[in-house]
Assembly symmetry: C2
Homo-oligomer: 187 residues x 2
């Protein structure tokens, strides 16, 4: 567990060395290789993960076999099937590595215990969750009111580094357009 995680927490809360050691004790480290699944559909979801290194996607496949990507996650992002994690239900989404990835994860029970012991971390996650909610609202507005061209331009603008790292098919599956439509947008 390197400084990436501590720096990420310190964007929102101040931490002494002792406090960071306490928090770290609740987290476990994981390494996954490219193509490996961190979460598969219809499983119990043990952890919510912080990405120390790597690139992942969170997606679902519909009844017609079409993939819809809900989220990408690279360094400094959090990823899980949040419904399965927070409601302790079987997963409906999958999380797969698009590159070798280093993650640190906290179990649901440990997260609740950490928050009781150390309210600053609950503050951290309340703020992160508020910002996450706002980002999803913007995505809904975008899906409802923006053209494919506007959604593509917004993605490029918001995540310039990510566009270089993901395939055109994956980007199309995130934007909710066909591969052909995406190719026209990229011309």
């Amino acid at each position: 567990m390197n400084d990436t995680f501590r720096n990420h927490l310190c964007e929102i809360i101040d931490l002494t060395d002792a406090e960071y050691e306490l928090i770290k004790g609740y987290y476990s480290s994981f390494r996954f290789r490219k193509h490996q699944f961190v979460i598969q559909e219809n499983q119990h979801v043990d952890y919510m993960y912080f990405v120390s290194e790597g690139l992942l996607k969170c997606s679902l496949t519909d009844a017609l076999g079409k993939e819809h990507i809900l989220q990408f996650a690279c360094k400094n992002w959090w990823i899980s099937d949040f419904q399965a994690y927070f409601k302790q239900e079987p997963s409906t989404l999958s999380v797969q590595c698009l590159s070798d990835s280093e993650l640190i994860g906290i179990s649901y029970q440990d997260m609740e215990a950490l928050h009781l012991q150390f309210p600053k971390m609950e503050h951290f996650f309340r703020v992160k969750s508020n910002f996450g909610y706002i980002a999803l609202q913007k995505r809904i507005v975008s899906l409802m009111s923006h053209s494919a061209r506007e959604r593509y331009d917004a993605f490029l603008n918001q995540y310039p580094d990510l566009v270089q790292k993901i395939s055109k098919q994956l980007l199309a599956n995130y934007l909710g357009v066909s591969r052909e439509t995406l190719s026209r947008l990229q011309m």
Copy 2:
């Protein structure tokens, strides 16, 4: 401020009478009449509101004059322009009453102060925000992968009471379909 608010908080946290009195001190009561705007676009957003009574919509109007509804809110729901509230930016959404409404609101500064004084309320909002995030993820999945028919059926199933209270045009603006498409779905 009636028992509705206390009962709502106690779905997630336990409160003594003294604790509830402390929390109440941070909130102010508001009454709005049908058609009144609680928030208009491009304004400072002072409050996040809990709905004690009434029905409201949160929406935006695109460049072509088309309305997109992000959220309805009835009794026991929270509503605001959350981006404007939590980031203290000018609003990009409007919140309007669809019936006479009784709201209680807390300012951003008071919410932060309340959380510092009383971590249980931060726990309450962390849990609410997590559940809100999950609900928005489901809406994104629905917009990306479900047909208009499936979205209509899911809305009916999830909010049977709401369907009786809102006009067909508003429901169409929420589902992201035309009024004509909605009429076909309702036949």
